[in-house]
């Protein structure tokens, strides 16, 4: 293997030395972490990570290789979009000899194909502790003699970058579900299609008024919700129309903003697959997969109520309109990666769709 030195430089001055893998090129972005122990093909293709250098805290990555890839519009494989979305990948140990029946290549080879750089040999726990205290941190992958500038993805509209450019249709059910694609994960589409509905995937700023649909899903996506004003605008229009709405992750924040509620940055973001969320209606506490640094403020006004609350830190994890069929969750009911305890929320949503 071509072993070359590389370093991860953080904007606060921390430098971590390691070995480059994947495509040996400098890269910059916001550095974030996730503590999930499995699911790197899913995470790396999750559009929510667009513009970010992802640190996988779990130290052994690439163990089961990578299955064959398919085209950008395919729903096959454990991929959440048609390409690797992260700006860079940071791991402790990269597995050079993966083992799985579904694997056709190493993680290293895949990242090379996808033109993405990674560094291994980094103390990811130490790094995670730094990142969790900072909340957000810019960083860059630097090679000897090849530097790059820090890049703040919050300054550009990432949603625009990852959203579909045209309207796509999936499935063939009677119910028509519009998916406002702010960077939607494939598994949201799979979860809907598997339940026998037609999914109309539309760009993040699509004029929903002109679309014939029975229910609306506002997807997950990258970045700060306050950067996607037009999506918020569309959501507000959709609320006026009264059809059922289900927001996921960024979609939750967009719906909240559309409803006149506010968002804020968490002291400790939720970046793991083991987040307990209390369903305030049932008292049950499923385990959820999460990846967010912003949350909806607990002041929900007269029309909205807290639907889910994080059992660890008490922050809001979902909102629900008291009378109208609007609801949203901050976590990922579609899992991928992560537990599927809350997949039933798709059923509940589709029941509300006439």
């Amino acid at each position: 293997m071509n072993r070359r030195r590389a370093s991860l430089v953080l904007e606060d001055g921390h430098v971590f030395e390691g070995e480059v893998f994947g495509e040996a090129r400098p890269a910059a972005g916001e550095v974030v972490f996730n503590t999930g122990m499995a699911g790197y093909p899913e995470s790396l293709t999750d559009p929510s990570y667009s513009g970010q250098i992802l640190v996988l805290t779990y130290p052994l990555i690439g163990n089961y290789g990578v299955p064959p890839g398919t085209g950008p519009e395919s729903l096959d494989g454990p991929f959440e979009s048609g390409r690797v979305q992260v700006a860079g990948l940071i791991v402790s140990s990269l597995c050079p000899a993966p083992s799985h029946w579904s694997s056709t290549r190493t993680l290293d080879a895949w990242l090379r194909e996808e033109n993405v750089a990674g560094i291994q040999g980094i103390p990811t726990r130490t790094l995670t502790k730094i990142l969790r205290e900072k909340g957000t941190m810019l960083g860059k992958i630097v090679l000897p003699g090849r530097d790059t500038d820090f890049f703040d993805p919050d300054k550009i509209n990432l949603v625009e970058r990852v959203s579909t450019k045209k309207v796509l249709s999936y499935g063939s059910g009677r119910k028509r579900i519009a998916l406002l694609d702010c960077g939607a994960k494939n598994n949201i589409i799979r979860c809907l299609v598997n339940r026998g509905v037609t999914v109309l995937r539309v760009p993040w700023d699509h004029d929903l008024a002109s679309l014939d649909y029975d229910g609306l899903v506002i997807s997950n996506g990258p970045g700060n919700p306050k950067m996607c004003g037009r999506a918020v605008e569309e959501a507000r229009k959709a609320m006026a129309r009264g059809k059922p709405i289900f927001g996921i992750c960024l979609g939750n924040q967009i719906l909240a903003l559309a409803a006149g509620l506010d968002t804020y940055k968490l002291k400790y973001g939720h970046r793991s697959q083991n987040q307990p969320c209390l369903d305030t209606r049932t008292g049950r506490c499923p385990i959820t997969s999460q990846n967010h640094g912003y949350a909806v403020k607990p002041e929900l006004g007269p029309d909205w109520e807290a639907w889910f609350v994080n059992a660890n830190d008490g922050t809001n994890e979902g909102i629900r309109h008291k009378r109208l069929p609007f609801r949203a969750v901050q976590f990922h009911p579609e899992g991928a990666p992560g537990p599927r305890d809350t997949e039933y929320l798709f059923d509940e949503f589709l029941e509300a769709v006439k």
Partner: protein
């Protein structure tokens, strides 16, 4: 509210220290809720049977009869069956009607669910209701039906026994002949046997699931067995979390696990095992254990999630979201731990202690303990684990002595065989085919072998040294490869700044800040997670449980830590064994889950700079570290290392005894066969032989003549420079006396004198011990005490010590002396109600409260400690008592008489009191004459006596009627085999010719068959005599709690 908790009894293969952990956590959880607790557990060496844990403790057998009497007496509101292993669960099932009658509620998982998880047919049907796949199979109720069913299923197939315990009787069979043998054995233990498809080579994956009464359900940990299906999980190396599962596989199995647990209605904790196809997506659910298990103890230690504690709280109706995660102090228990490290469990076997034992491993559990290595790479965790085993290897790659590779790849030494095969260039694909281990793991092992080669250089460069340390190589191994000294490698890497970092196991992979004190060391990180301010005292724990060193040393370690804490000291524990209480998150101020090696203890000392280190609580391994630690400037608490040397060095100790006029059996350290033979001839046979060159196999033996001596030495190895053999006069017919004491600066503070029932020649760990000694002269008693005082003074002992004596013809001789806590410390402490370890700890801190007043040693009750053997799990092993220890655990019971305490104690080990018939077979005329008295006593009690030819003739000549049974190989009726198989013999008393004579004869076959058919067996004359006496005395077996005996 009052709750009865059933313990698991003695440690045995399949049920070991993990249930001390789960029981003690449960008791703690109940106490916090103000619940009164009653504990039944005859295992006196456990921590849970301490006054701090339960309000009432019964050292009585965990069986229907005794537990029913306890229920009648205590009138508990509820009962917990899930914390004492299969023993407690089986006892609970047997109590079904009793519990209703006395209105005792089964807390959490109802009996119906337990039965559905224990009975294969019910289990399979139940899972089919929700479309969950289980292996195809047929339940059969007789050998004949089994043979018939096999033809439809095809071979190979798996034979499974209901109400299994450690897989006893279960296994893979490849043809009709094997099936027949297997079924005969299986039906000896069980009424139903399941034949099912054999999922050869499938991965074995486990999930630990918790569910509360509100239906919140989650998986705390998943684990991957390195060894595939067909290996008992207790025999397999295991990693957590799983390494080769994709997100889909991980979460699909998790989803099914939760679905199954909900459908079964389990509340509390349970374990679910899956088989996973390595070539396509397919799975089977193998089993569900609706109780705390060995795997859940491992999961708890691997994740720092207090499973047993939480399960007990759920039993009281608490819900997961309302319970706080006591590790973080802030988050809830309703979450799934995220690990940012990998753990690797490796079992510890002691098969070399047994004669004729089958060393192939498979679907039956044979291991006696386990260790858990933690690292940030598989290699780091894996190599640590090998060193933690304390079997004399420095890691995965070793110079372990091996037999032919093709055979050893299937034995307990298979990892060493894999290392050797890789070194010889065997491809990974071939090893996968033979071992069934996933290539992911084999590739990592191959990497270790490759690195080992690269390390064969005098001056490994810094990057290579760092890489080696990250791959878990010890300084000692690197030194050996480089041809340097361990200390010089250590100095070099420290110079280069290659030092490990201390990391927390915090349950959430650093996502939030945590307060945990649960720590390990790794070379993959550079920053310590904790600060090192206040200095503490470091206590070295027990290491893995093994034959000869077990839960008793965990009790000692924990007692020491509690005592230190009571003196206001900061406590630090180092231990490697996930089955222990000392590794619980709330036992010490800091816990290092680490190896008990000089390198690692020094690493911890470099960080913590402790005030002192306690080496006398964890058995021999930490004791051995006293001198090297002291040489490295570490302060050892208690007896000075230089004095420890004077006790451990045979020559020095012998000279010391001579100087003080203390007698010892004649002995000599000899370096050739000729001189050994000459010395043995001079002192006269029999002699005890202890060669220094034993790598595997028996370390000791008794020889009755020259040929026996030569035979043993030839088997052990050969003389080479620097190696020798110690020959000691073996005194026949002598009584053995056990002395446990504590001293401060050579002054005796407290002591206990126990007496072995078996004559000398039976290892003290296998002996049945009476406390206080009842049948030795007052004079002997006094002499023992005086000698102990002399030795304590001469060695300036501070702390615990143990001396073994033999007494014959009014002469007392010292045979062994250890300046550390011994196996019997919990037994004597609990019998007297005086914590010897607390006294020892205070003495070591220089804070002795002076000698304990003598009247404390006048007890009203008598206690008897009896050994627990696990021969039924060790196929082919000769179930005989020798100078090598063979028992895996012990119990102790109290009584008003020796007879009462004795009967209770043996019943607590699973012995069934004979009702009708006794079979005797005695080798040698001398033994027969010596046995006449007790055989006569048994005959007088009306037992139907049967015997082998010579014994029957002898008995007839002496006026005792005994039916002659033919030996097994004689194939004539009436035959011993038929009688044993037909359950027409209640007890086998088989007295071999003499200790340690190797008898490959029908005598062995009878013993073995008794064990295989589950018939109680006695092989010792003194035990047989005491049993006959006790049966004749017919004492009432009182049900009394411990506090009532202490008065």
């Amino acid at each position: 509210m009052k709750v009865l908790l059933l313990g698991s009894g003695a440690l045995k293969i399949g049920e070991a220290g993990e249930f001390d952990y789960s029981g003690s956590q449960a008791l703690k959880a109940l106490k916090e809720e103000g619940v009164k607790t009653v504990l039944v557990n005859p295992n006196i060496a456990t921590i849970q049977t301490g006054r701090e844990f339960a309000d009432r403790i019964y050292f009585l057998p965990v069986n229907r009869e005794f537990v029913e009497r306890i229920i009648r007496r205590e009138k508990p509101d509820g009962i917990l069956l899930g914390f004492g292993g299969q023993t407690a669960l089986n006892c609970g099932v047997s109590l079904e009607g009793v519990l209703d009658r006395h209105k005792v509620r089964v807390l959490v998982t109802p009996l119906k669910t337990i039965k559905e998880t224990e009975d294969r047919a019910l289990f399979v049907a139940k899972l089919a209701e929700i479309g969950v796949l289980t292996p195809r199979g047929v339940v059969v109720t007789s050998v004949k039906r089994g043979m018939a069913a096999a033809s439809s299923l095809g071979f190979p197939l798996m034979v499974r026994v209901s109400y299994d315990l450690g897989g006893r009787g279960s296994g893979v069979v490849r043809d009709l002949a094997e099936l027949q043998i297997k079924l005969e054995r299986a039906f000896a233990f069980s009424k139903r046997v399941l034949l099912e498809e054999y999922l050869h080579g499938w991965k074995e994956i486990e999930y630990e699931v918790v569910r509360d009464g509100r239906d919140n359900c989650l998986t705390v940990c998943n684990m991957e067995n390195l060894d595939p299906m067909g290996f008992h999980t207790g025999e397999s190396a295991v990693v957590a979390p799983t390494q080769t599962l994709t997100n889909f596989e991980y979460h699909e199995l998790r989803r099914i696990a939760i679905q199954v647990v909900r459908h079964l209605g389990v509340v509390g904790e349970c374990n679910i095992q899956f088989a996973l196809d390595p070539y396509r997506w397919d799975y089977r659910v193998i089993e569900v254990n609706a109780r705390l298990s060995r795997s859940s103890a491992l999961a708890s230690k691997a994740t720092a999630y207090p499973l047993a504690y939480v399960a007990a709280k759920l039993a009281l109706g608490k819900t997961l979201p309302e319970l706080k995660n006591s590790v973080t102090g802030v988050t809830t228990t309703c979450f799934e731990p995220a690990l940012d490290y990998i753990v690797c469990k490796i079992p510890r076997w002691d098969l070399q202690k047994f004669r004729r034992v089958e060393s192939r491993i498979g679907s039956e559990m044979k291991s006696v303990g386990e260790v858990m290595g933690i690292g940030r790479s598989f290699e780091e965790a894996f190599q640590k684990a090998f060193r933690m085993l304390e079997i004399g290897v420095d890691g995965f790659v070793s110079d372990f002595k091996l037999g032919p590779l093709a055979d050893e790849l299937r034995t307990d030494k298979r990892f060493f065989a894999i290392a050797k095969a890789l070194r010889l260039g065997w491809p990974v694909s071939k090893l996968r085919r033979i071992t069934g281990i996933d290539p992911w793991f084999l590739e990592r092992m191959k990497g270790l072998v490759g690195m080992e080669e690269r390390l064969r250089q005098k001056r490994p460069p810094r990057p290579l040294l760092l890489q080696a340390k990250r791959a878990g190589f010890s300084d000692a191994r690197i030194a050996a490869l480089a041809g340097r000294k361990e200390a010089s490698v250590r100095a070099l890497r420290k110079k280069w700044g290659i030092v490990p970092a201390v990391k927390q196991m915090d349950t959430l992979a650093a996502e939030y800040p945590a307060r945990t004190n649960y720590l390990y060391l790794t070379y993959h990180e550079t920053e310590d997670d904790v600060a090192f301010g206040e200095r503490g005292v470091l206590v070295l724990g027990s290491g893995p449980y093994r034959i000869g060193s077990s839960v008793e040393f965990d009790w000692c370690s924990v007692s020491c830590v509690r005592s230190l804490a009571a003196q206001g000291r900061k406590t630090i524990v180092l231990n490697s064994n996930p089955e222990t209480v000392s590794t619980d998150y709330d036992m010490s101020d800091r816990l290092y889950f680490e190896e008990m090696t000089l390198e690692r203890v020094l690493d911890v000392c470099d960080k913590e700079r402790p005030d002192g280190v306690v080496v006398s609580m964890g058995g021999q391994t930490p004791n051995n570290l006293a001198v090297p630690l002291a040489r490295n400037g570490v302060r050892i608490l208690g007896t000075a290392p230089s004095d420890i040397v004077r006790a451990e060095d045979r020559n020095k100790f012998s000279a010391l005894l001579d100087r003080h006029g203390v007698e010892q059996p004649e002995w000599k350290d000899l370096s050739s066969l000729r001189s050994a033979r000459a010395f043995a001839r001079a002192i006269g046979f029999p002699v005890l032989i202890r060669p220094s060159f034993v790598l595997s196999g028996s370390a000791m033996s008794v020889a009755f003549d020259e040929s026996g001596m030569e035979r043993f030495l030839a088997k052990a190895g050969s003389f080479s420079p620097g190696q020798s053999v110690i020959i000691t006069k073996f005194i026949e017919g002598a009584k053995e006396i056990e002395f446990d004491g504590v001293a401060a600066q050579g002054e005796l503070l407290c002591y206990a004198i126990g007496e072995h029932i078996e004559n000398a020649g039976v290892h003290s760990g296998d002996a049945t011990i009476i406390l206080p000694a009842q049948r030795i002269h007052v004079q002997a008693h006094r002499e023992v005490r005086l000698i102990a005082k002399t030795i304590a003074r001469a060695l300036r002992i501070t702390g615990p010590f143990n001396i073994q004596f033999i007494a014959k013809d009014d002469r007392i001789k010292v045979i062994e002396c250890n300046l550390r806590a011994s196996r019997t410390f919990p037994f004597v402490s609990k019998t007297y109600g005086v914590d010897f370890i607390d006294i020892a700890t205070r003495a070591m801190l220089g804070d002795s409260t002076g000698p304990v007043h003598k009247s404390l040693f006048e007890t009203d009750a008598i206690a008897i400690k009896a050994p627990q053997f696990s021969f039924s799990r060790l196929k082919k092993a000769d179930p005989i008592l020798t100078v090598e220890m063979a028992s895996t655990g012990e119990v102790a019971c109290f009584g008003r008489s020796v007879h009462e305490a004795f009967l209770k104690a043996i019943v607590a080990t699973g012995f069934r009191i004979p009702r009708r018939s006794v079979f005797v077979s005695i080798k040698g005329d001398v033994n027969r004459v010596r046995s006449l008295d007790w055989i006569r006593a048994l005959a007088a009690l009306g037992f139907e006596m049967t015997a082998t030819e010579h014994t029957a003739d002898f008995l007839r000549r002496n006026g005792i009627a005994a039916e002659r049974l033919f030996k097994i190989h004689e194939s004539r009726e009436p035959n011993v085999r038929t009688r044993l198989q037909g359950r027409r013999i209640d007890l086998v008393i088989n007295i071999p010719f003499s200790y340690d004579r190797i008898e490959f004869d029908d005598s062995y076959e009878i013993r073995r068959m008794a064990v295989d058919f589950g018939v109680p067996l006695i092989t010792n004359i003194q035990l047989a005599r005491l049993l006959a006496e006790a049966l004749a005395a017919k004492p009432e077996l009182e049900v009394r709690a411990w506090d009532e005996y202490l008065g």
